[in-house]
Structure formats: C-alpha cells, structure tokens
Symmetry: C2
Subunit: 342 residues, 2 copies
DNA sequence: CTTTGTTAGGAAACCGCTATACCATTATAT
DNA sequence: ATATAATGGTATAGCGGTTTCCTAACAAAG
C-alpha cells in the first residue's frame, strides 16, 4: 500500500492537520515541527494522492481536450499532434492536467463533452478540429462551459476561439513574391470557396492589389483539392499554348504543391530557375522535396500553447471573451524561391 | 453546484446507499424503488463524480502514458501521434483513462514516472520513444510497475515491450524486390550500426541470401543519416564510372529516400523505368513525391492499440511477461517499383 | 495578578461515493 | 408454531486529504 498522510503524521509524532499545514500553508507552525514533518515525509517518500487532494479541495485543475483523432490521423493532419503538445505543455506548466477525449466515434460530441466535463468536474474545455459542430456549440453555450476552440468556427459568434489568420498568410505570400521580384504569379487554389485555401487566396489577392499587382482571372487556377487535380490544372495552365508563362506559382496548400511539383517536372521546368514556387504549411514533405520548398508556415505548437494559456487566463477571469487570430504566419525560406537581395 | 448522489436520494425519497446500489450492483432492490431512483437521476441529470467514485472504490483505472513530445515533434516523427491514438483508443474502450506525461523537459524521466504513478495511483505505465532509458528502467523494475514499452529497449531484458520487427520488414523488402524481378539491388543505409535502419539492412541481407541473391559489399551504401548525405552517396555510387547500375534501390528510411530521389533526379534517371525505388514507413511525403513511393510500412496505430490491450491484459494477469514483435510490416505499393506480374 | 492576545497544534467535519454491517419485514422450511 | 432464510432498505464507516474551529500555553498589557 502507498504511504498516506496518516503514516507521515505518525512517523513525525504529530496530527494529520499539522502535516497538511506544513505541506501547504505553513500557518502557525514552529520550525522544529516543520522539520520533523518534512523529515518524515522525505524518509517515507510521501507523495500526496492527487485524487484525494482535488477531492478535498473541491478543485480539479483538469481540462478536457476534445478532438477528433480519427484512426491515426497524423498522416492526414500532422498539425493535430503539435497543437495538442502545445496545449499540454502549457497546461502542465500551470499545474493543470489534461484529459483527452476523442470524438471520432461519437454521434453527439457535445453531449459527450458536457458529460466528461461533469464526470471529471473539469474546469474547462479546449476543442480542436472537426470535433466542433453546431450541437457542441449549443451545449457549450447552454451549460456555460469555459472553452477555447482552436480554429475559427463560422457558425456561432458567441464562441471563444483562437486561430491563425490564413488571410494574413496569403498576404505574406504576396509580399514575399513582390520582394523576390516575381511580378506575374499564378495562384493554385481549391475549388470550394469556404476553405482555408481560399482564405489564403483572398489575402494574396488583396495584398497584391495594394502592391499594385492586379491578379487577373487567368492567374488563378481553381482545382480539385488533390495532388493529381493540381497536377492536371498546372499542366493545362502552363501547357504548350496561349499565355506567357508566369514567373512563379503560389499553391494554397501542400497537397496542391505536390501536384504542382509533379506537373513542373513533367513540363521539364526547373524550380526556381524557370519558375518559382511558394506554398503553405511545413509538412515533412516540403523539406524533402527537391528543391526544398519555400513555405509560409505557422507555429502550430505555439498556437496550442496559446490556447492553453488562454484557457488558464479565462479560468482566472471568467468574463474574458476571446476571439482572435493569435498566431502569426512565418516565412520559411527554402530553395524554391530566390530570396530577395538584401 | 453539480448534483450529487444525495440530491438524487432526496428526490427519490430513499437513502444514498439505495441510489448507489441501483446505479451499480442492483442487489436486493425492488423494481419500484429502482424506478424511482432511475427517474430521479434522469430528471436531475445526475452524473456521478468520477473522482469520488474512484476514490471510494480505491481503483483508478488510469494509465500513465510516458513519452517525449519534444517541442512539436510530429514533423520529425509522425508516428508518435498515431501510436498514442491507438493506445488511447484501446484504453478508453476498456474504461481506462490515460494521463499524458511528457518527459522532454525531465532530467530523470524515471523518477518523474514513478512520481506520477504514485501521485495518481495509476495502474500502469505505457512508455514510448526516447522517454525510455536506463534510469527509467531501473525505477520500473525496482518499484515493480506494470508496464509496456513500445519499442524494443536493448539495455535490459527484464522489461516488457512490444515492437515491430524491423528485421522482418527488411526481409519483406527483399521478397518484394525478388518478386518484382529486381536481381541487382543497392541498399542505402545509415552509418551507425545500432539503428533501425541497420536492422532493416540485416533482414534484407538475410532474406536475399536465402533467395540466392548475395548482396555484395559494393551494393550497400553507408551514408550520413540525412537527406543530403544520402543524395551524395547515391550520386557517388551511381555516378559516371565503374560498376554497372543496379536495377533498384532500397532506402532504409524516408529521409534517405528523399535524398536518393534528389540524386536520381540530378542523374536524370527516371523511377521506376531506369531504376526502381523502395523505402520504409509512410510519411506524408512518400505519397506526395513523384513518383509515389512504394514502401514497407507498419500500422503504428495498431501497434499502439496492441500496447493498450496488452496493458489491460497485464493488469488482469500481473505475471504476464511480454516481449514480442507484434506488429507486422505491410507493403504499400506505389509507383516507384513495378508490382510483380500476377 | 488578572485580562487579553497570540501562537502552535489537534479534533473533527467534510468532499461524494461505495460497501459493509445491520435491521426490519416477509417467505420458506422444519 | 418456531426457526431459518431471503428480501429490501438504511445507517455508517471509510477512502486521503483539507480546513474550520477549538484549546492549550504562553506572552504582553493593564
């Protein structure tokens, strides 16, 4: 059996209360008694039972992290893990505990979430990814649970969230292109208009415009959001005929970039000599392709960490309402664009 | 405040004990009383406080998962997340809870692990990755903690572990090559001999031999375990001169494969027409390269799940001693080798 | 020398739930 | 009819801590 506070008390020849006081508040304790208790605790290798503590104190310092693991989703979304690590690190640092709840097999993640919160008397809820839907939102708001959602939920503006600003990332792309002296740029984006990919396009367009580089209609390639879709689109747009070849391509995400690389290979175009290439998000692949791709990335670990510390601030100050694009994009220079001459 | 068992008891007009019985054992309870209790519980939306329950029952059903997150390591090791998901899923399925402990900032992970186990009165310990070292091993054995290590620890054979058999994966590679009719194969491996990479080489060699395809010394390229190292090695080995070009290359891991792809590109060799390529582990990149690489992979999610269920079996049967290569390699056919004609 | 204040430490209630012991009933066996 | 057993339910003692309240003991003040 493990050693309890009573064992320590007996060993030190004092009462439980005294041990507890020494180990916590230090109110009205003589140095000698403290010594005795500390010695006994040390000797017995006493570790307080955290369940008993949180039970007695009626606080849990526990946060439920709700996400949709899928079945081994790192391949499809390597960000999930990094974000989770960031959250976990920050929570742990402040003495909180994190309980993972996977919603991938839940029909009603909201119900499940509330249930977990209540069951564990958790202090709050951090949600990431596809776990968030209308049902969940309704539950959260109804039960008034302190929460932070990682990723901007579009369907309810009473929710608290943080996210990265994909539009801003798009602007960064425009700036980098302009800096590098690429005036005529093709943007490859997915067809659906409600995607991250298109927020990037929006930002790119806006910034290009303000830089007096209007992006004409024929310099945006809308494609199936697959590698082969992008490949085909690029082959068509840069094929034999018509338009002069752009100086550079911006791909709205890594998958499209992979397809674009394939297409450029087939066209016999060398990157960045014949044509430059910029994309978003560091996937393991972007550093392993030849050439290594230049990307506009975000520090997702940091985003998770921010969500964690935001949660803690919210618990200290329940009225705190958070909706912000906290995480800034960063440029990671690779070999696929020529960096601007200093 | 949240609703307690006393509230339910009051509402149903019975004692706490009765409520507890109805909600758990159902021993000696009349149908009418059960109804009353169930109704009250339903009406009040009662959810038992899990901390109180596990405290009273003196069981935790909690497993500590010890790993080294690093700072956002999915990029360097996308397997970590999948393994963790597998473990989590399996534990959750059996009503266990998983507590994440990150050792990346610990000097003595062993001490930390034991502390966490004791603090949370956890039932067992699952360890993955670089978190495991001699100090940790010593602690585990000393304290006799039920444990499963994911990954074969070489320094102590009293530990319980499961792993995938990299040697076997190497054999699979040999078989696939032989099946495809590639007789003359170059193996690109890292220089250090104690690595996974070299277990794969070992298995490859052994199987090739048994297939009567001796791998001569000059058909193994030992390289720096980096992309550029592999690139250089391959350039040298396939460069202008001397030896006839092999029909195929096996790379001991994805990083080496990326370097090899780069080298082949520079040499103007087309894959798989001029030369075939096979590697290990599905990284996001292997599917995004051109051509999509054929790989020998393992289902790491499944490996995690096995670790989880093994843990549970161990708790039911403390004498269970586990050391086994549970997870089988699988071939994922890509475009970089020509599949064997049926 | 009493009164008051301060300090060190202990007794006991409590957190929410489980589980055992126990007490009425009522049914069954002798 | 009495002994015995089963049934349905309650009272209560923990689980391992924290915390409030209380009591000595001693010091300072009047």
């Amino acid at each position: 059996m493990s050693v309890t506070i009573t064992d320590v008390a007996d060993a030190a020849g004092v009462s439980k209360s005294t041990v507890s006081k020494v180990l916590n508040h230090w109110t009205s304790i003589s140095p000698e008694t403290a010594r005795k208790v500390l010695d006994a605790a040390e000797r017995l290798n006493y570790i307080p039972n955290s369940r008993a503590v949180s039970f007695a104190r009626q606080v849990t310092k526990n946060i439920v992290y709700l996400t949709d693991f899928g079945q081994g989703t790192a391949y499809s979304n390597p960000h999930m893990f990094d974000i989770m690590c960031g959250v976990h690190h920050e929570l742990t640092r402040s003495g909180y505990t994190m309980t993972l709840v996977d919603t991938s097999e839940e029909t009603f993640p909201g119900e499940r979430a509330i249930q977990e919160i209540r069951r564990r008397s958790a202090d709050g809820l951090i949600i990431h990814g596809s776990a968030v839907n209308e049902e969940l939102a309704a539950m959260i708001l109804k039960e008034n649970v302190p929460h932070i959602i990682i990723g901007h939920p579009s369907f309810d503006n009473r929710l608290c969230w943080i996210d990265t600003d994909h539009t801003l990332a798009g602007e960064y792309a425009a700036v980098h292109m302009a800096d590098c002296g690429y005036l005529d740029v093709l943007f490859v984006a997915g067809k659906r208009s409600d995607t991250i990919s298109n927020q990037r396009l929006k930002g790119f367009r806006k910034k290009m415009l303000s830089l007096k580089r209007y992006v004409p209609h024929h310099r945006v390639g809308y494609t199936d959001a697959t590698r082969l879709g992008a490949c085909e689109t690029v082959l068509t747009l840069l094929g034999e005929d018509a338009l002069p070849r752009p100086q550079a391509i911006v791909c709205a995400n890594s998958v499209l970039a992979a397809g674009t690389v394939k297409a450029l290979g087939e066209l016999g175009l060398s990157v960045p000599k014949d044509i430059a290439l910029l994309t978003f998000d560091t996937y393991p692949c972007t550093g392993m392709l030849d050439p290594v791709l230049t990307v506009i990335d975000i520090n997702v670990y940091d985003m998770g960490a921010q969500a964690g510390s935001m949660m803690i601030r919210k618990l200290e100050n329940p009225d705190l309402f958070v909706q912000s694009f906290t995480t800034l994009p960063i440029l990671i220079q690779g070999e696929s664009t020529v960096p601007p001459a200093q």
